[in-house]
C-alpha cells in the first residue's frame, strides 16, 4: 500500500513537472525575443534620430538652397522679408567656444592625469578622483548660471571691452566642465601602461618627470588623444552654458569678446520663441541639428578609430 501510494505520487510529480516544463519551454523560447526587441529599440532610436533629421532637413532644403546654407556668411532667420540661412556664423560661434574650452581643458586635464597616475599616492587618488567626477556630474544649467553671474563679471574687470554675452566666458566654463573627462580617461590610459616600463626607465636613471613624459605619455597616447577628441565632441554639443552666457548674435569671424550664437544656442532660441510649426524657421532647427549631429558623430568615430588603430599592446 505504502509503496504503491509512494510510486503513485512520484509519478504524479513527474507528470506535473512535465506539464510545467511545457510552460517553461514557452517562456524559455519567448524571453530571447522580448529581450531582442528591447535591444533592437536602441538601434531604432538611432534610426529615428537619423531619419527625423534627414526628413525635416529635406523639407528645409526645399525652401532654402543647400549652397546658401553652407556658403553664406549671414544667418538672419528672423528677417521681416526673407530670411538668410548661412550656417557658417553658427559654426564659427561653436568653433570659437570649443577652441577656448580645449585651450583650457587640455593642459589642466593632462596635468591632472599625470599627477593622479604618476605622482599621487593611492590614498590621494581615491580622494581626488571622485571629487573630479562630481565636477563632471554638475548639471550644465548650473555651469551656465556660473558663467553668466560669476565668470563674465570677473573677466569684464580685466577686459573692459568684453560684452555681457560673449564667447570667452562660456568657452572657459565648458573647458572646466570637460577637464574631468580628459583627466579621468587619460588617467585610465596612463594607469594601464605596465609598471615594468616605468621601472626600466627609472633603472636607467630617469627622473619621475622624464618617465612620465618620455615613457608613459607616448605609451598611452592613443587613449589620451581619443579622450581629447571625445571632449571636443562634448564641447560642440554643449547647449545650456552657451545658451545662457553666449548670447544670440550669429557672427562670422574670430572675435571672442562680443555676443555670439552657437548651433545649439540657436536651436534653444527658436524652441523658446514663438516660431510656428511648419515655418522655415521651424525646419531650420533640424538642419542645424543635422549639422551638429554630423560634427559630433565624426568626432566620436574618430575617437574610436584612434583608440583602436593606435593602441599599443603590452
Amino acid at each position: 500500500m505504502v509503496s504503491e501510494k509512494g510510486s503513485f505520487s512520484i509519478q504524479k510529480l513527474i507528470e506535473e513537472k512535465k506539464k510545467n516544463k511545457s510552460a517553461h519551454t514557452i517562456i524559455e523560447k519567448l524571453v530571447p525575443f522580448i529581450l531582442l526587441f528591447t535591444a533592437v529599440l536602441s538601434v531604432l532610436t538611432t534610426l529615428g534620430i537619423v531619419f527625423t533629421l534627414i526628413f525635416e532637413t529635406f523639407t528645409f532644403f526645399s525652401k532654402v538652397s543647400f549652397i546658401e546654407f553652407i556658403t553664406e556668411k549671414k544667418w538672419y532667420p528672423f528677417s521681416e522679408t526673407k530670411g538668410t540661412y548661412g550656417i557658417l556664423p553658427l559654426v564659427s560661434g561653436t568653433l570659437r567656444v570649443t577652441l577656448i574650452a580645449i585651450i583650457v581643458a587640455v593642459p589642466i586635464g593632462l596635468a591632472s592625469a599625470v599627477f593622479l597616475s604618476e605622482y599621487a599616492s593611492e590614498r590621494t587618488r581615491r580622494i581626488i578622483k571622485p571629487i573630479l567626477e562630481v565636477l563632471a556630474g554638475i548639471p550644465t544649467i548650473v555651469y551656465g548660471f556660473f558663467a553668466l553671474t560669476f565668470v563674465t563679471p570677473i573677466l569684464r574687470q580685466f577686459i573692459p571691452t568684453l560684452e555681457i554675452f560673449n564667447a570667452l566666458s562660456p568657452g572657459i566654463v565648458i573647458g572646466i566642465m570637460i577637464t574631468p573627462m580628459i583627466a579621468s580617461l587619460s588617467e585610465d590610459a596612463m594607469t594601464s601602461v605596465p609598471n615594468s616600463m616605468r621601472e626600466g626607465a627609472l633603472a636607467l636613471g630617469s627622473t619621475k618627470f622624464e618617465v612620465s613624459m618620455k615613457v608613459v605619455l607616448p605609451a598611452a597616447i592613443s587613449g589620451i588623444v581619443s579622450s581629447i577628441v571625445l571632449a571636443i565632441s562634448r564641447a560642440i554639443g554643449e547647449t545650456m552654458i552657451v545658451a545662457v552666457a553666449g548670447g544670440s548674435t550669429p557672427t562670422w569671424g574670430w572675435d571672442v569678446t562680443s555676443s555670439i550664437q552657437t548651433m545649439t544656442a540657436y536651436i534653444v532660441q527658436v524652441s523658446t520663441g514663438d516660431a510656428g510649426y511648419g515655418t522655415t524657421i521651424y525646419y531650420s532647427i533640424y538642419a542645424v541639428g543635422m549639422t551638429l549631429f554630423v560634427f559630433t558623430l565624426l568626432m566620436n568615430l574618430l575617437a574610436q578609430y584612434i583608440s583602436k588603430r593606435f593602441r599599443e599592446e603590452y
Binding site: 530571447p32 536602441s42 538611432t46 591632472s112 545662457v244 545649439t264
Partner: protein
C-alpha cells in the same frame, strides 16, 4: 675612451632634479584647480541663494514677483519626470543588457548593436530633443506632456544604463550560473533567480547615476517646448508640466538680480537632490561591492 662622460652627467643632474620637482608642483596645482573651481562654484551659489531658501520657496507657485516666487510646480514636475523615466529606462536598459550578455551570439549583428549603443551615448542631448519633438510631441500627439518628456529622457539615458547593466551582469561569476544549471534550472530561471539578484547592486548604481543626469538635463526639454512658466500641477502623465532646470533657466535668463538669486536657490535644491541620489548610489556600491 669612456662611453659616458661622467662629469657631464653629474652637471645635468641638478637641473633634471629641479625640473622634476617644479613639474610635480605644477601638476599638483593643476589637479587642485578643479577642486578650487568646485569650491568657488558651491560657495557662490550658496551665498547667493541661501537668502531665498525656505519652506515658502518650496511651497509657492512661480510668480512674477521674486519675493513670492517658489518652485512647487518645478519640483513636483521633476518627481513626475523621474517617475516616468525610471521604470521605462531601467526595463529597456536591463532587457537590452541581458540580451547582449546572456543570449546574443557573437556575430556582426551583436557587434552592430554594441557599436550603435556607444555611438548613441555620444549624441548631444539637444539632438534627442529634436527626436522627441518630432516623434513624441508631434507624430504621437503627446504634446509637452510628462509622458513625451519621460520617453525622450528614457532614450537619452538608455545607453548609460545599458552599459552599466552589462558590466554588472558580466561581473557575476560563471560558476554561479553553472551551479544553477547543474541543479536543473533553465536559462531564464537562472537569470531571474541567480544572475539578476547578484547583478542588481551594479544595475541600481548605474541606473541612479543615469537618472541623476536626467534630472539635471535642460536642453532636450527646452527643444520639446516645455513651458518656462506654469502655475498648476500635472494630474496625469498626459498633462503639461515643467521641471527644476527649466525653472532655473527661466530665472537665469532674466536680467534682474533678484531672479538670479532665485535661480541660485533653485540650483541649491537641484544639487541637494543630486547629492542624495549620488550618495544612495555610492552606498549601494560600497555595501555590495566584490562579494565574490
Amino acid at each position: 675612451m669612456k662611453l659616458i662622460d661622467h662629469t657631464k652627467v653629474v652637471g645635468h643632474m641638478n637641473q633634471r632634479l629641479v625640473k622634476n620637482q617644479v613639474y610635480k608642483v605644477i601638476f599638483f596645482i593643476a589637479t587642485m584647480f578643479g577642486l578650487l573651481i568646485l569650491g568657488i562654484l558651491l560657495y557662490r551659489i550658496l551665498t547667493q541663494g541661501a537668502h531665498y531658501l525656505n519652506l515658502d520657496f518650496l511651497q509657492n507657485l512661480p510668480s512674477r514677483r521674486p519675493e513670492r516666487a517658489g518652485i512647487k510646480t518645478a519640483l513636483i514636475g521633476t518627481i513626475w519626470l523621474v517617475g516616468v523615466t525610471a521604470p521605462l529606462s531601467l526595463l529597456l536598459g536591463v532587457g537590452t543588457a541581458l540580451y547582449l550578455e546572456e543570449y546574443a551570439k557573437k556575430n556582426r549583428f551583436t557587434d552592430f548593436i554594441q557599436v550603435n549603443i556607444s555611438n548613441l551615448a555620444g549624441v548631444p542631448s539637444i539632438v534627442f530633443g529634436l527626436l522627441g519633438l518630432t516623434l513624441f510631441v508631434r507624430a504621437l500627439g503627446l504634446g509637452t506632456s510628462v509622458l513625451a518628456a519621460g520617453l525622450t529622457m528614457s532614450l537619452l539615458i538608455l545607453p548609460v544604463i545599458i552599459v552599466a547593466s552589462q558590466e554588472a551582469i558580466r561581473s557575476v561569476p560563471k560558476n554561479l550560473r553553472e551551479a544553477s544549471f547543474g541543479m536543473g534550472a533553465t536559462k531564464w530561471q537562472t537569470i531571474v533567480r541567480v544572475v539578476l539578484p547578484a547583478a542588481i547592486p551594479g544595475i541600481l548604481t548605474g541606473g541612479i547615476l543615469a537618472l541623476s543626469r536626467a534630472i539635471g538635463e535642460t536642453a532636450p526639454l527646452v527643444v520639446l517646448g516645455l513651458p518656462l512658466f506654469i502655475a498648476f500641477l500635472p494630474k496625469t502623465v498626459f498633462d503639461t508640466f515643467t521641471v527644476l532646470p527649466m525653472q532655473i533657466y527661466n530665472w537665469t535668463s532674466r536680467p534682474q538680480e533678484e531672479f538670479h538669486a532665485l535661480a541660485a536657490a533653485g540650483i541649491i535644491v537641484l544639487l541637494i537632490m543630486l547629492i542624495i541620489m549620488n550618495s544612495i548610489a555610492v552606498l549601494i556600491r560600497n555595501k555590495y561591492q566584490k562579494r565574490y
